[in-house]
């Protein structure tokens, strides 16, 4: 049996998640602070892939990246094309996964106590430093959750992928596409195997991230009323006792 769909799917999902991670956080951070007139419209457009049928997303992507599309033309001029190539699977996965990352990260940013950020500002710390040392750590449980959801969604992307990347075994055939064609071709055993695999990967990813973000959440809120708080708080305190003060 050709195992290439596993590697293509994983490569696609991981690449798309990475891109989504940075673009999603940036967009979320920008929109959490944006108070302009077009806030509602921009937010709507960014969330649209979440509610549109994947075929509609695929159709738009074809318009953009196709031979006559604005981006397609530029790529043609550079002597390349993404349609029916591996990057197309990444593009499709990124677009459908993006809103999940954006939405969860934005919610996490908006929940941060504004006074905490203000306090950091009055202390004379640069905005960049505030973002990486305060905002991201405090929003981490949300960012982690968004990353898992984005990964799972990217891994499961089917409709848009099929439309712009097609079904080229060994090149653009991801697991969901392989399942569809195996099932349609009557190879139910093969399809079933892929189904088990993708359920396995997705479930594992979500479980690992859930566990992790639970640990992080306790860390951020300080672990309630327990004397030593969280595991990480405890570790820190214990190591502090051994090694003297360390900042």
């Amino acid at each position: 049996m050709d195992l290439s769909p596993i590697w293509i799917s994983l490569r696609t999902a991981i690449t798309a998640t990475l891109i989504t991670f940075f673009v999603g956080i940036t967009a979320a951070w920008f929109m959490a602070g944006y108070k302009g007139f077009f806030k509602g419209l921009i937010d709507g457009v960014l969330n649209l892939p979440l509610v549109l049928p994947p075929t509609v997303v695929g159709f738009f992507l074809l318009l953009l990246f196709g031979r006559n599309g604005p981006i397609g033309k530029v790529l043609m001029a550079l002597g390349t094309s993404v349609i029916f190539s591996w990057p197309a699977t990444v593009i499709a996965a990124f677009v459908v996964a993006f809103p999940l990352m954006y939405k969860t990260a934005r919610g996490a940013f908006e929940q941060i106590d504004g006074n905490v950020i203000s306090a950091a500002r009055t202390l004379g710390v640069s905005e960049w430093s505030i973002f990486w040392r305060i905002t991201v750590p405090l929003a981490w449980p949300g960012i982690a959750a968004g990353t898992v959801l984005a990964f799972a969604r990217a891994l499961g992307e089917f409709g848009a992928t099929l439309m712009i990347a097609g079904n080229i075994p060994g090149k653009t055939q991801t697991i969901p596409v392989a399942i569809f064609f195996a099932a349609e071709g009557g190879e139910m055993d093969k399809a079933f195997l892929w189904v088990l695999l993708i359920v396995g990967i997705s479930l594992t990813a979500i479980m690992i991230m859930n566990y992790w973000s639970e640990v992080q959440r306790k860390f951020v809120t300080g672990g309630g009323r327990k004397k030593y708080g969280t595991f990480s708080g405890y570790k820190k305190e214990a190591s502090g006792i051994q090694t003297g003060s360390e900042i």
């Binding site: 710390v125 430093s129 860390f219 900042i247």
Partner: protein, 354 residues
């Protein structure tokens, strides 16, 4: 050390027009909730931008709408103590205090953090997270964090409002102690007049965004010059009044005359009598003496508030004319006397407002 604030900002419902100056010492900004006092503080810190005006700190222009100057918070060198302390929840006490000290070497940072920890009595809490601290400890950490960067001014936004009554007095004393060792100006925002009186030397009273009074605390509390200043400093009995002769004023609603021992401005519009300034008359012939009935009395933990109805006077909106605050001991004597009681308002205790 000096701060000059002269700002205007349109807010929902009213316009903030704050104007005051202070040199070193603790300035109290007293006002009811929604009077714009916290907003004024946030404008000084650069967390909000006034529509127009000027803010100057030690000769440095922080904000000037005319010249287009608006320094961002991080360059203003202000220390801000938030109502909820706003500690970084994912950092230990030590990390919170050392957070902004990044231009120094590790050794220097450690030393500075240690100094702050010692000054604010935080020894033993270095590796705790904010959620593992009591309210008072959190406040000290926030203060240590603000002081660690040597701010030129310290802005305190209702620093005791998140504490329960028991802790409040203790924390207040510690705060005053720490502030006595601090050489910059301090602006203390509160809606609690007693707190302001105990902590500050200079008071600015804000009412609906405008400065209703400003000056030394004794003077402001003794003779509040405006109606809202009188209310905010806790004056319970305020009536609209008119000067009839230079030393006599008439409370218009009741048609009764009060005598003052100093000349009253012809523009006087209200007269105030503090609830604890009312006393029993020894001689019915004295001035400002009135027979009255106690119509209700409410017991507090230390004092009794009696509601008095003065005989032969017009009706009052509340059903009583005066509120009288009296110690429990005294009250037990008063309660035995037969009514009507003869009360007296000393002429020097009258507060005149224009």
């Amino acid at each position: 050390m000096e701060l000059l604030v002269d700002i205007r900002k349109k807010l929902p419902g009213f316009k903030l027009e704050a104007r005051f100056e202070t040199e070193s010492g603790i300035l109290g900004l007293l006002g009811a909730s929604g009077s714009g006092k916290s907003m004024t503080l946030r404008c000084i810190a650069g967390l909000e931008t006034p529509d127009e005006g000027r803010i100057v700190l030690n000769g440095r222009v922080l904000f000037d709408s005319g010249q287009g100057i608006n320094l961002c918070s991080r360059n203003r060198k202000v220390g801000f103590l938030f109502q909820n302390y706003a500690l970084f929840p994912h950092m230990t006490v030590e990390e919170n205090i050392g957070f902004a000290l990044k231009a120094l070497t590790k050794q220097e940072i450690r030393q500075k953090v240690r100094d702050q920890i010692r000054t604010l009595h935080l020894e033993g809490l270095e590796y705790r997270y904010p959620s593992q601290l009591s309210g008072g400890q959190q406040q000290r950490v926030a203060l240590a964090r603000a002081l660690a960067v040597n701010p030129e001014i310290l802005l305190l936004d209702e620093p005791f409002s998140a504490l329960d009554n028991y802790l409040r007095g203790q924390v207040e004393r510690q705060l005053v102690e720490v502030l006595s060792g601090y050489h910059g100006a301090v602006v203390f925002v509160s809606h609690n007049m007693e707190e302001v009186y105990r902590v500050c030397s200079i008071v600015v009273i804000l009412s609906e965004g405008k400065v209703a009074a400003s000056g030394g605390k004794e003077q402001i509390f003794e003779k509040p010059p405006t109606l809202s200043a009188a209310r905010l400093t806790g004056c319970k009995n305020i009536f609209s009044a008119k000067a009839v002769t230079p030393k006599c004023i008439k409370i218009e609603d009741w048609g009764c005359i009060l005598h003052s021992d100093e000349p009253v401005s012809p523009n006087v519009s209200h007269v105030g009598i503090r609830a604890h300034h009312i006393g029993l008359a020894e001689d019915p012939g004295e001035i400002n003496t009135f027979p009255c009935q106690v119509i209700d009395a409410r017991e507090g933990p230390n004092t009794v508030t009696a509601y008095l109805k003065i005989n032969d006077l017009g009706k009052s909106d509340h059903g009583y004319h005066l509120q009288w605050e009296i110690s429990k001991e005294k009250w037990s004597e008063v309660a035995l006397q037969s009514q009507p009681l003869l009360i007296r308002i000393k002429p020097e205790n009258l507060i005149f407002m224009n």
